[in-house]
């Protein structure tokens, strides 16, 4: 069986299993909707107090917020195996993955999925619809393609961050709160236009962790506004490419980390 088919087999299996827990599904989704909604409340409070900032009004900010959170929701669903990975190192289960005839990254990615927390996704869709209805964006074919590309690229970048987090546990063994800082902190960061931040911070999230390419920059193109730092127009359209390249680099780092692995032996 080829890798891709096997992957979707596992995903479908996981979906069927999780569909059995309806109450848990509802509770988690509501909790997540509220938890992420609280973040948007912060955006609203600040705009209500100060008015539009650097030309960004509430509908436009909600479009940006939606793109980031939809992408993160997708990455969170599929990247669950990496998110939960530190436990695998800690209890020594990683040894077993090393014995099987597939790459470890592939096995980890199939281990777990999280399809039933739809709160973040739902909020993203609602906010996007509201933002699109209240701003003056004309959605032609090109802009829809850009949007799809931004979400796909964003999912890749966040997935890559989940891989980086998991890779760190080859060294730390323990699962530490700080490794959530990159993923959840990254979402928090990308929810606002990067022009809000200081230059060093903006550069880090543009050129090192390329979150800008999948959130702020495509949102800027979508809304027809300039973005800083100024980039050639072609570069502003390349979200999916940036996402895939970043994901590939994180997989290389994963391989490097894997060579450092020392079993906990239990």
């Amino acid at each position: 069986m080829n890798g891709l088919r096997l992957y979707f087999r596992f995903a479908a299996l996981s979906l069927r299993a999780q569909a059995q827990y309806r109450v848990s599904f509802a509770l988690w989704s509501v909790a997540q909707f509220i938890g992420v909604g609280v973040e948007f409340l912060a955006v609203w409070v600040l705009l209500d107090r100060f008015g539009a900032i650097r030309g960004w009004n509430l509908p436009e900010l909600s479009i940006l917020f939606a793109i980031v959170n939809i992408a993160f929701a997708v990455a969170e669903s599929f990247g669950r195996g990496f998110d939960m990975f530190p436990g695998v190192v800690k209890n020594g289960d990683f040894d077993r993955l090393l014995l099987r005839p597939r790459s470890t990254a592939f096995q980890v990615s199939c281990r777990e999925f999280q399809f039933l927390r739809v709160g973040r996704l739902l909020l993203g869709v609602v906010l996007f619809a509201w933002g699109a209805a209240h701003s003056s964006v004309a959605f032609g074919a090109a802009k829809l393609a850009l949007l799809a590309g931004a979400v796909a690229g964003g999912a890749c970048v966040f997935y890559g961050l989940f891989i980086l987090q998991a890779t760190m546990s080859f060294w730390t063994i323990e699962s530490l709160e700080i490794i959530n800082a990159l993923t959840y902190g990254g979402t928090e960061t990308a929810q606002y236009p990067l022009s809000f931040y200081r230059p060093w911070f903006r550069r880090f999230f543009t050129f090192v962790v390329p979150l800008a390419f999948v959130s702020y920059i495509p949102a800027g193109v979508l809304l027809g506004r300039d973005t800083t730092p100024a980039l050639p127009e072609a570069a502003r359209w390349c979200s999916p490419l940036v996402g895939v390249v970043f994901l590939a680099i994180t997989l290389l780092i994963w391989r490097f980390g894997e060579r450092r692995y020392v079993s906990t032996g239990s």
Partner: protein, 265 residues
């Protein structure tokens, strides 16, 4: 009183061992604080309206929120050990102890709110005061007012956590409450956005809830946004709410005990 103090001290000693977790939590809070600080800077520098807090005060408020983040019942699971006890039935052992169950859980909550907070708040002050714009307390009386009210805030948040813990005795629905409450509390206490920045119409609602005394009011006493003379009313409100939450918590624990069936084996 004595067994409760002993319990509190013992729990604190256990929790103070988790130093790596504290360092990690500190790092996370630092990143989130930086993001919030820069967002506030962007809004303040481009706005032409007068805000109820100055930028320097809003930034200090944000760093206080990061330093005392752990004081609030954030984890979806307020006390994982008690949760497991309820799930496995070991809670029956707890009931045989010659002390009150609610008091026991409250002291556990108090320890798990204060000891980790201490380990995170001290480094945050050491970094944020010299480098990140956290102001020193407005005056000596302000500092005193802050110290007293933040201690009362610990009593208040742990009384609240104990209610969430007690709802776990109704496992399924209790789980839902334990997951949803933290987000609401964090807004109401001022950890998401400084409460003075909320619109004027929202202020009476925020003041009517118990959450404001968990962070916002102590922080504003620190900043001098509330004068030191406001410390007494704030403290009184915190203690009244603590008493109310303790009564509610006791009622929940009592009714949970009545319906509890411990399976043998």
């Amino acid at each position: 009183m004595k067994p409760y103090l002993a319990l509190f001290r013992a729990r604190c000693r256990v929790l103070l061992q988790y130093r790596a977790a504290a360092v990690a939590g500190f790092g996370t809070q630092l990143l989130f604080g930086l993001v919030k600080m820069m967002v506030l800077e962007a809004f303040y520098t481009h706005a032409r309206v007068e805000a109820p807090l100055t930028l320097a005060q809003a930034i200090s408020y944000t760093w206080l929120a990061q330093a005392f983040f752990h004081l609030l019942p954030f984890s979806a699971n307020p006390d994982p050990e008690v949760r497991d006890m309820i799930r496995t039935g070991h809670v029956a052992y707890e009931m045989t102890r010659p002390i009150d169950l609610h008091g026991l859980w409250w002291m556990r909550a108090l320890a798990s709110r204060t000891a980790p907070t201490l380990m995170r708040a001290v480094p945050m002050f050491l970094v944020a005061v010299p480098f990140l714009g956290l102001q020193a307390p407005a005056s000596l009386p302000s500092a005193l007012a802050f110290t007293v009210t933040i201690l009362a805030a610990a009593l208040l948040t742990s009384a609240f956590t104990t209610i969430i813990t007690a709802t776990l005795m109704w496992t399924v629905s209790g789980d839902g409450i334990a997951r949803i409450m933290p987000s609401l509390v964090s807004v109401g206490a001022g950890l998401v956005v400084p409460l003075p920045l909320f619109p004027a119409w929202a202020q009476p609602i925020l003041s009517a809830l118990p959450f404001r005394g968990m962070a916002d009011e102590p922080f504003r006493l620190y900043l001098g946004d509330l004068p030191p003379s406001a410390a007494l009313p704030v403290l009184a409100k915190q203690l009244v709410w603590t008493a109310i939450l303790v009564l509610i918590g006791r009622a929940i624990v009592a009714s949970g005990r009545r319906r509890l069936v411990v399976q043998g084996g």
